[in-house]
């Protein structure tokens, strides 16, 4: 099942991809992402950012995604 695409989901997808939590798509194709990988990516980000690990795009997580930060990926392959 692809992740549901509420507006926050799509910007969160971009964020998670930009900072290395989801392998970046080529940009010229959209990728099918199973829910489990998506949830895992959110959990990884929450753990890295030191916030509650819920696997959900809760308000704290969305807020943290708006904080000023460094542009380098958190997860470097």
């Amino acid at each position: 099942r692809c992740a549901n695409s509420a507006p926050s989901d799509s910007s969160a997808l971009i964020y998670l991809s930009q900072y290395g939590y989801i392998s970046a798509s080529r940009g010229n194709s959209s990728q099918l992402l199973d829910e489990r990988s998506y949830k895992k990516a959110i959990e990884d980000f929450q753990s890295f950012a030191g916030i509650d690990v819920t696997g959900q795009l809760d308000p704290v997580t969305l807020e943290t995604m708006t904080l000023p930060r460094c542009g380098v990926k958190d997860k470097v392959g």
């Binding site: 959990e43 890295f48 030191g50 708006t66 930060r69 460094c70 542009g71 380098v72 958190d74 470097v76």
Partner: protein, 402 residues
Amino acid sequence: TGDNRAKRYALQGSRWKVKDLTYKISKYPGKLKRGDVDKEIQRAFNVWSGYTDLTFTPKSGQVHIEIRFETGEHGDGDPFDGPGGTLAHAYFPVFGGDAHFDASESWSINSYRGTNLFQVAAHEFGHSLGLSHSDVRQALMAPFYRGYDPLFSLDTDDVEGIQALYGKKTKKDTPSFDDDNDDQDGEFDESPSNEKKTPAPPSVDQSLCADPKFDTIFNSAEGYTYVFKGDKYWRLTEESIAPGYPKKISETWPGLEGNIDAAFTYKNGKTYFFKGSKYWRYKGRKMDGDYPKEISEGFTGIPDNLDAALVWSGNGKIYFYKGSKFWRFDPSQRPPVKSTYPKPISNWDGVPDNLNAAFQWTNGYTYFYKGNAYYRFNDRAFAVDVTNPPFPRSTAYWWFGC
């Protein structure tokens, strides 16, 4: 791996093979004077050279690290996004090491307004040197910008990361960092005579042998080491307790009470004594003004009824200890105590809570005392020294020549 992985720095996997690196600023931000930017950028590099043998020299032409302030798409496929969001990015050594800053940010220097150039630059240069992001929240290499910190200093996580790449600092250059006493590499400990006092001659008072617990220990501006206990004090010599002691505190420091909680001598040459909610300041043996004053008045953010205080040899800042917590006080900054304090004394790996005393001895080491025992602190490892014989050691034997 997994959630229970200890939080710590991360190495990207590449580093520079040379330690003497060069850099240039090819494109400046609009609103700051170039000279100020130059200074802040050098200061940001110095953060890393303070703990390693890395050096950073500005020059023109071919350099290791090129620095540019750019807006939007700027040729590397990693466009900036305007004010906020992404502030800057940098490339790891294997990708060239360059650092790009979003020129649309409101870059500032020594100000709570805008985005602090020095802190962001120091972070980006961590990437240029091979550090990835750390998940230790208070580390410089954490990904999120945490606002201007007038008391900025690298977290031990950052120090461990950069030293994992480039080793510890072995060359002296800037005295403001680790007082790099070669003895600190441990051979200093193999010869216990450095700290072992030769047995005190019989004329020396033995009361501290019977009960070596004391109120506080400090160095005077002249370099003498004093131990306070109750209303008496002793002077320590290189080898033992000086003959002719104890004496009355009030005879030598007129106006000073007994049962002092903590004391230290700051780089201004003045000695501060703390007791209950009050503190005194002395210049040598003379009270330096109208004292006692309230601690809350002169040391805002520091609690009453302290256990110990010292000027730490690692960064020259003043640390206060009480119960299981410690505070860092930097008189040159506003506020002098960051809001993230107090922090747990357990951060000082191996140092116990509920200390009796602490100070930086004339050998540059920092010592902590509790009950009949003491601990010597290794500033670079940021932990109690691992030696043979181990710490804690007997205060009476090693310090009072008992």
